[in-house]
Each structure stands twice: as structure tokens, then as C-alpha cells.
Symmetry: C2
Subunit: 279 residues, 2 copies
């Protein structure tokens, strides 16, 4: 039999508009919404590998959450005698087959076979986009629907929100700020929040929408607990609205119990963007 | 029989994401894509008027063209004894029934029965969004697809583009810059371009996309010829790419013939936004 070489391993970065997907992770394809990974692997099959291609996703994102740049690794075994794809060929080939979907490969590079997109990541950065100044859902510009959260109620007290944010920075047991899942009992709840920044930001055509203000909240950590960012944003917004005090955030941390989180305070997925995965 | 009052006339401003519509104007509803007007009138029928409601649209936009604010007037005749809707009630009622569509009523106000949204408009302002720095379609952020034009080729010479724009400003016979339509022979081709500005602009999350630059080209005139803005933008971009000289724009104006327009130079609808209609 012909000699078969080792498969080539690649690290790819990819972008997606998450509204129409069940999340990034693969799902059984008989569901109404399927995962971004299903489309990535379907596109990859069109490259005619000798072994089906599996994407190992760096960062799990929920249904409705977007990515400016998520990451994954994959191995490609080609037929004997065929040269490995270059990074550029892989980007072009995958994008060609992904075309109708709002999913796009940004880059691809060869990595050693010991590289793992999930376990080798040094940190993840998320952005949460808030739209302030809307009295009602219908005031969200149609171009921004699904891409931000416009919390009901009046203006936010940004300085109280910043004060509360300082309690979250650093290393803590974030048990109160995770949602319960089947993995929860086995997962260490201690995380180190390296960065938490709140700043005004431009929105899509927002210079034409007087009275609307966009703010971005940026979170950086080696990794996050299940729904931790959405819970932290929801609690911070509650502080900005005067429903919680900044000190309440510290107390919530100290309770270390997911059931202590204020009901219905979690921020919706529409405003959440995975900005980058750092290696 | 009960006394029937005069119908109440309203001026409404509305916003839409144009990609999924055949344009703003009503079409027969058995087509694959129908017009924004079809959805507006369907929503209005849910308000149970005694006479079917017709929207008289201020500014016709093509399939794929968006509006930050288009305008229309409509008459509402209610059953005897029922008070006329307030502007706020009309906005809320229409938006409730438009909800799943990316169409939104921004405001509504009572106007005299002599008011006409199309003929009383003093001017229209359009914005055309250009994305520079993309070598290929796949480099357009997925969040910006359908909302800009990324012309192929290298960077644009913005100063040449500005020089060419100066030839278009003011009153001219714009025959070369209109597309032929069934109305063309009857329509005076002279228009006065009151404003033509070119400036850098923020894109959606563009501060996270290094290397990409957004520019907006703004056009203001009492009215425009059929596809005039898209033809003007296409010609200006050709100047920015060095395919035409600024003086060629002046010569194209002087020829006064739609067939003299460079083939395939018209800009696509995706980058065009009706920004406002002024009264």
C-alpha cells in the first residue's frame, strides 16, 4: 500500500453572526437550528480529505452569541501523493463552501501536532455591547437588532457600574456568576479576570442616530465559566440601574452559590461577542 | 346614517434593512420578494380602518437599498365615533404588527390633508458606505455583509475622488448618470446636487478590524434620477481607482447620454442608505 503521511494540523480563526445558529458547537443536524461547527465541517468535507475533518473549537459560545474571532484546530489527511494545503488555500477553500452562511474563515496556519486550540489558549477576550437611550425595543435601529442589548429603564449610572466592576477584577470564586450545567459539579469555579473595561463605542451608523449611545464592556480571562460573562454584565447593568449597589456585587461573590444570582438579571446573548482567543 | 368625519392624514418616517425586499414600492404579493410597502399596508390593515390604508412613499428605493429614514403619508378613516389615532398610538400599533420584519416606524405626526410626502419634500439625503482595505469579498466582516460596498482593487485615491466630486456639485443635466427606465423619456434630467461630502466613518465594530476603513459619501438634492446615486458613486470610485480621471467626470456630464456611462461601473445597492427626507 502507498505510504500515508502524517495529517497536517491547522489553527484557524473564524467569524460568525450567531443569531441563526444553536451555538458554535456541533449538534445533531435534524434540529431546527444547528451549530456553526456543523457548517464548518460540512465545508471541510468538500475539500475531499481521506479522513473526515473534525474541528476542535477553542471557545464554546451559546445560541445568539457572535464571534469576531473564535479559534479551532483541525487535522487534514489528504490522499497519498497530494501535498498539504497551504494556509491560504485552506482559507479560500473553506470560505468558498461556506459562502451563503454568515460564517467566515479569517486565517489558517500550520501548527505542530501537539497544539490544541482549546487547551493551548492563553486567554479569551469578550465584548458585550450595550445600547443606551432606548425607551422601547422598537427604538433599536433595525441594523442593530440581534447585535446589542438595550436594557429597559432609564440611563445607567456608569460610575456605579465601574465601581462594581472593580470587585469582579482579579481572582475569585465565581460560583454565583455561573449558570448550572451538567459540567458544573466537576469544574473549579475560580477564575482570574485579567481585564474589565467599560467604554463608549461607535455603533453601526450611530453617528446618524442622535440620542442613542453604545457602550462596550470588555472581559479578558484565561477561561470563563458557563454563562459567566452574561451573568456579570446583567449584574453590572442592575447596578447601573440602581437595582443593586456596587457592594452587592462583592456580596454575591462571597456567597459562592449560583442560586443566589438575582433572577432574570442575566444579559441576553444578542450583545455578546467573542472578540479574540490569544495563544 | 352616522356622520363620517374626514380621514386623518399622517406623515410617518420609517427605517428598513432592504436586503430581503424587492424595494420600497408595493409589488404584487405573489413574487419571491415583495416591497416594504406591502408590509406597511398589511400592518396598517390590522388597525381596522373603515377604508383600506394606502402608503404614499416619498422616495423610491431599489431592492437591496436601505433606509435610515424614508417617509410616507397615509390617510386613516376610522369607524364613526372613534377618535383619530394620536401619532404615538400609530407608531406603537404599526410597530407591533411589523415586529418580525426589519422595518420600523420611527415617528408619526398629523399633517393637513393637502400634505403630500412625495411632492412636499424639500430634499433627500443619501449615504453611500464604502469599505476599503478588502482584497476579497470574504474579508468583509460578516456583520457588514449587505451593508456596504468593498470595491475590488487596491486603495482609493481619495483626493482624486474629491476632485471629481466637485464637478458633480451644483446644477447639471445628469442624463449620463441615470439608468434608463420607462419613465426616462418624460423626466427632466436636470438636478441640483446641493451637497456631496466624502468622509471617513465608523463601521460596525470596525475599531476591532484593523486594516479596514469605512468611508461615507453623502449626497443631498431635492430629488434624484433613477439610480443616479449608485451611478455617481460607481464613477467616483473608478476615479479613485485611476480607471477614470476627474476630468472624465466632467466629460461624462457634458455628453448627456445614459449610454455613455462606463459599463459595469454602477455601484451595488448594498452600500446605499436613504438617510433622510427633509420637509
Amino acid at each position: 500500500p502507498a505510504m500515508v503521511g502524517a495529517p497536517a494540523r491547522y489553527l484557524v480563526f473564524f467569524q460568525y453572526f450567531g443569531t441563526r445558529y444553536s451555538g458554535v458547537m456541533e449538534t445533531k443536524s435534524d434540529q431546527a437550528l444547528v451549530g456553526v461547527q456543523n457548517y464548518l465541517e460540512k465545508a471541510a468535507q468538500n475539500l475531499r480529505p481521506s479522513v473526515p475533518i473534525k474541528f476542535h473549537i477553542s471557545s464554546r459560545t451559546d445560541s445568539g452569541v457572535h464571534a469576531l474571532a473564535n479559534a479551532a484546530h483541525l487535522d487534514i489527511q489528504r490522499a497519498p501523493g497530494k501535498a498539504a494545503f497551504s494556509g491560504k488555500q485552506l482559507v479560500q477553500g473553506l470560505n468558498y463552501h461556506l459562502k451563503p452562511e454568515p460564517i467566515c474563515i479569517l486565517s489558517a496556519q500550520r501548527v505542530p501536532s501537539t497544539f490544541h486550540a482549546r487547551f493551548c489558549a492563553l486567554s479569551r477576550t469578550y465584548i458585550y455591547r450595550l445600547l443606551l437611550g432606548c425607551a422601547h425595543y422598537s427604538q433599536i435601529p433595525v441594523f442593530e437588532r440581534d447585535l446589542c442589548w438595550a436594557p429597559a429603564g432609564g440611563p445607567l449610572d456608569i460610575s456605579a457600574l465601574g465601581e462594581a466592576a472593580n470587585f469582579l477584577l482579579g481572582t475569585h470564586d465565581f460560583s454565583t456568576f455561573r449558570s448550572l450545567s451538567s459540567e458544573t459539579p466537576f469544574q473549579c469555579p475560580v477564575r482570574t479576570l485579567l481585564q474589565l473595561e467599560i467604554q463608549p463605542a461607535p455603533g453601526f451608523l450611530s453617528h446618524h442616530n442622535r440620542g442613542l449611545e453604545f457602550w462596550e464592556v470588555k472581559f479578558k480571562s484565561r477561561s470563563f465559566l458557563y454563562r459567566q460573562v452574561r451573568r456579570m454584565v446583567g449584574a453590572l447593568v442592575a447596578v447601573g440601574q440602581g437595582k443593586l449597589s456596587p457592594q452587592d456585587i462583592q456580596e454575591l461573590l462571597e456567597v459562592k452559590d449560583a442560586r443566589a444570582f438575582p433572577p432574570h438579571a442575566m444579559a441576553p446573548p444578542s450583545g455578546l461577542f467573542l472578540k479574540s482567543v490569544e495563544y
